[in-house]
């Protein structure tokens, strides 16, 4: 028996003593018998299991995000509103459901509930209800039947004439109810959520359990065993981005989607938002945290890559003990970190970029979206009159951990940029990395790709630097070096 987890499912309160580590998808399908939510992969890669989770805030509003219920443990649901396909209006189909039928956007129907939930999440939470954002919202929903065109047609047809209030928030919610996208019980949800008492915590268990942040790595890794192992669900007082003493400070608890939405970052580092659009899917970004990405230390971790280049520094905490580690010194080897098991990442600090800086992120994967990189790379630099004042380059997928290209960066520092210098830098990068052949590409490919991505950085910085493909053809082939 476990302490009860209480939440609202669709319009009804659910109280359960099931294991808090039970996968939400299984709970929905097997305990609640709500089988509209489908299982397609159990690893966040298909979207068939998409549901919405609404979290109340102090001002009484509830904010919704679409997530993959296959990656969510039941325990994290306490005090939240869970919306499944069965919770949509019963009497009439919503305008999006109708549009899907009208445009032929449904074939076998297996992906359909997840798709509809993603779009509902988009309507509830997206500031800008453009078709581009709608497509972004469904990029985590794989449909093997339709080829997507009919789904796009459905999105276009209902978005152009939906009667939805463009202003996000309460007015939007009202208009969604009035137009039949969501049922009237949504009005009562804030009240219902407030009536749920806080989760009855057990006395702190001293046994060390794995930290659990968003769960997008840990749930996949513990595939099938999640009901047995116990997690230490991380609790946070804050989830913000702020500027303090010349540093941008990001709490480790920040979700990727909150990083994208951060007003501070939009001002200081406007490039970041579109870079992170290549991170997972909307559902994954709504779950995945900064701390998890860094602690998981996957060689291709996108945030690790970006923040290595941006000269990030971590704050680690263990009880009362707090220390700081430069991110560059944090990754020691394959899944080896400069951190004890009980230390947790609490913050990441980045120096506020100097004016005139240049930042670029490159990621090439088998599929552009919802895929992990074959190779990724970030550069953060400043050059004055073509001379490099400082530069940091990071590369992923080419070493056992997220790699800071130390030699390459220090070689370039102080140099006047020419195509020759860049070719030389690209060769130094080859000597720093050690890619292996795997499902994401052969060693030969990854080496070549890293070279190309370094070129890409500088071509974006200044297209004149590599003005002709001939320069690239003359460059030494990376595979021939060793």
């Amino acid at each position: 028996m476990y302490n009860p987890v209480i939440f609202i499912c669709n319009g009804k309160e659910i109280r359960t003593s099931a294991s808090p580590t039970l996968t939400l998808l299984d709970f929905i399908r097997r305990e609640l018998f709500l089988t509209g939510t489908k299982e397609g992969c159990r690893e966040g890669d298909c979207g068939a299991c998409t549901v919405l989770i609404g979290a109340g805030s102090d001002d009484g509003s509830v904010s919704y995000s679409a997530v993959n219920s296959c990656l969510i443990p039941l325990g994290t649901l306490h005090g939240k509103h869970l919306l499944t396909i069965e919770g949509l209006p019963k009497d009439a189909l919503s305008p999006f459901q109708q549009a899907l039928i009208k445009e032929g956007g449904i074939q076998c129907g297996f992906c359909t509930p997840g798709l509809i939930m993603s779009v509902t999440g988009f309507l509830l939470s997206e500031k800008d209800l453009s078709i581009e954002h709608a497509i972004e919202a469904i990029a985590g929903n794989i449909c093997r039947c339709t080829g997507y065109k009919s789904i796009k047609r459905a999105l276009e047809s209902f978005l152009c004439d939906s009667g939805i209030n463009p202003e996000a928030g309460e007015k939007r919610m009202e208009s969604l109810i009035e137009n039949g996208f969501i049922p009237p019980y949504f009005r009562n949800i804030p009240e219902l959520l407030r009536s749920i008492p806080p989760f009855a915590e057990d006395p702190e268990d001293t046994k060390l359990k794995p930290y659990f942040a968003g769960g997008t790595d840990i749930m996949v890794q513990k595939q099938g065993e999640a009901t047995d192992i116990n997690f230490h669900f991380l609790k946070w007082s804050e989830e913000r981005v702020r500027v303090e003493d010349g540093f941008i400070v990001l709490d480790a608890a920040l979700k990727v989607s909150s990083i994208m939405d951060s007003a501070v970052l939009k001002t200081c580092l406007p490039q970041l938002e579109s870079c992170l659009g290549l991170f997972g899917s909307r559902q994954i970004r709504n779950q995945a945290t900064l701390g998890g990405n860094l602690a998981n230390a996957s060689p291709i971790a996108d945030l690790a890559n970006i923040f290595l280049a941006l000269d990030g520094r971590l704050t680690l905490q263990n009880g009362d003990q707090v220390r700081e580690v430069p991110l560059r010194d944090f990754f020691l080897g394959y899944k080896r970190l400069s951190k004890t098991e009980s230390e947790r990442i609490v913050k990441l600090k980045l120096p506020v970029p100097e004016s005139g800086f240049f930042f670029n992120f490159e990621k090439v994967s088998r599929r552009k979206h919802l895929d992990v990189a074959s190779v990724n790379s970030s550069v953060y630099m400043k050059a004055i009159d073509g001379r490099v004042k400082f530069i940091h380059i990071a590369a992923g997928g080419v070493a056992p951990y997220p790699l800071y290209l130390k030699e390459t960066s220090s070689f370039l520092e102080g140099k006047s940029l020419t195509s020759g210098i860049i070719l030389e830098a690209a060769l130094i990068a080859q000597s720093e990395c050690s890619p292996i052949s795997d499902i994401r590409g052969s060693e030969e490919y990854k080496r070549l790709l890293l070279r190309q991505l370094i070129f890409a950085h500088f071509m974006k910085f200044n297209p004149e630097l590599i003005y002709s493909p001939e320069i690239l053809f003359q460059a030494q082939a990376p595979s021939k070096i060793f």
Binding site: R42, D45, L93, Q107, G109, R144, T146, Y148, S150, Q452
Partner: protein
Amino acid sequence: MENIDLLYHARGESKFIDDLRLPSDALYAAIFYSSTGHGRILSLDLRDALLMPGVKAILTSKDIPGENQIGGVIADETLLAEDEVHYAGQPIALVVAESPECARKAVKKIKVLFDELPVVLDPREAFRKGSFIIPPRIFSMGNTSLAWDNCLVIVEGRAETGAQEHLYLETQGSVAYPTDSGSLKVTSSTQAPTAVQRAVSRVTGLPMNKIEVEASRLGGGFGGKEDQANSFAAMAALSALKLNRPVKLVLSRQEDLRITGKRHPYSSDFKLGLDSEGRILAYEVTFYQNAGASADLSPAILDRTLFHCTNSYFVPNVKATAYSLRTNLPPMTAFRGFGAPQGMFAIESAIFKAAEKMGVEPSYLQEKNLLKEGDAFPYGQSAEGCRAKESWLAALETFETGEIKNRIEKFNRENQFFKKGFAFMPICFGISFTNASMNQAGALVHIYSDGSIGISTAAVEMGQGVNMKLRQIASAIFQVSLDKIKIEPANTTRVANTSPTAASAAADLNGKALEKACNELLERLLNAAALKLKTEDKPVIINEEILLKEEKTGLKWEDLVKMAFDERMDLTSHAHHITPGIYFDKLLNQGRPFNYHVYGTGVVEVTLDCLRGTYTVDSLKAIHDSGKPLNPLIDRGQAEGAAIQGLGWLTMEEIAYASKGPLLSDSLSAYKVPDVYFSPGELDIRFLKASDNPRGIFNSKAIGEPPFMYAIGVFFALYNAIKEFRPEVRMDFTAPLTNERLLLALYSKEKNTVTA
């Protein structure tokens, strides 16, 4: 016309196998499968697994009461391995337990020891070892040996295409229930209820009449559940029989990926000869089909490769040889196109290479050689109602391909690191099961006394909209509204001895049977009406009203049905349909295997990022001959979906196996299929106007498979874009053309021998 079946999908109310509520005594099965590609089983230790609480039984081949055999075409496939395993993923034992988790945990506790044997993954290696599934097949027409002398240009080369995972979103699964009198009811996510019934019968030893198989709907099939649903249904049935309790077996995605077969990889050698005008005079091709460890449907797929080896071109002298080769991979199986895409890819590669050598555009050769009315295919049939040229010209005009070309040339002049390419892709696809005996279907129609109608056929709804099409047919004949008609799940007790829902032919075959059954009932009803109205003239029904000489009679559909019932009339009819006039001599390889052909022309445009080796498919357009589409909305959806699946096959979808056989791309994080962003900005498939097809139901043509092959154009469009960046590059024709292959081709040092 909207598909009203979709309402339930949109609400999440449609029940797939895993959604079925089971009785409380139900048990769950999980499969223990081989982790190696080839080995003798030295020992199988089930003790720890059996000790796990919740585990009810572990079944092995020894527990099979009937035959341990599920090979449908050739008896070469066990349900559960006996002494030897032939591929990684081959089922060895079944754990039956109280929950799926418990069953899977127990699976992990089973220990097996193998004596590892040599693993063969490559079909050419299997060829050298003489591992044939069936004797070689050869189609020929004219005399190629004599023709080479007349050729001005001869090119030779190799074409390779990879495996493709079906990735139906609903994994394989089945529930079996013991029923009265020692019988079984099996619900299965299958395209072929009768095949499942046969397999279950063989394995359990029960006669077919004691096995009821039902398929309500599939969350996608694409051929992957034509033959391969059999084993999982047989496993559920075996477990249910042994334990006398309902048993569910639903595969996890990873199990499905590892255990089931995929589209056949092919390696092919081609030789093409042309005259000075670019007319193809001779074509020789040898196909090495990688069939995996057992036959499955490989022989039929091999034949369809041969039938389509000249695509939509007329070639007077052809010699096509095909080998189906046994390797240590899961048995490869049906997948949209059924071998035709592999055959068509080879001749398109040959044409591309010839064009390169002649210094002309491939489209010049493609157009020049298109089939004309009456031209012979290499298997004796000739092109009737040929719309190859018509669709080509319509594509030129509709899509203003001249403009596209100019636009692309301009773009390529102005951009150094981005290059565009485009390609045409004509298609010709034969409709019918090439095994003539399979071209039959049955329909059972009940009119209930309240006027509502229930229809059963052999067709399985898997997203292709066949239920809607059947409903439309009945509605058109009876002149009643669509909502009066219900299409029942395919069930072997209602319609028996059925062919699978496959070969794009379900609507054709079952539609014709339904048409016949409906007409029979209509005839009865109208006679009854005439009697009642005391007239010699024939009444008609229009919009549920009975009319006589164009005048309303006041009699409505419901009245008529009620009256007929009171008159003790039989309100049920069953009809059977066979495709007339098709035959094929398998020794001479001559005949008329196809009822008709589907034609069309696609145009694909891509933009290649020559720095990063990535690309976008900007557009895929096609003029497609679908006769008079039965339901244009559904048919467009089929065409679009097929085309995107094709794009995936040729580009990002790459299956990788470890050298000992296990699948490396065994998760959706490793195996990528097209997503919404990948789907071309312009996906524009239009139906050829003023077409018809007297051989099809209501003049329509089959739609499921043919449009898949428009996507083959993407390979050549990308190749063209590479050549814009590096004109001297000559690639091998190896698909899929992944980002990796592209980048390596763009920057290879050896200019002429790029293996991309």
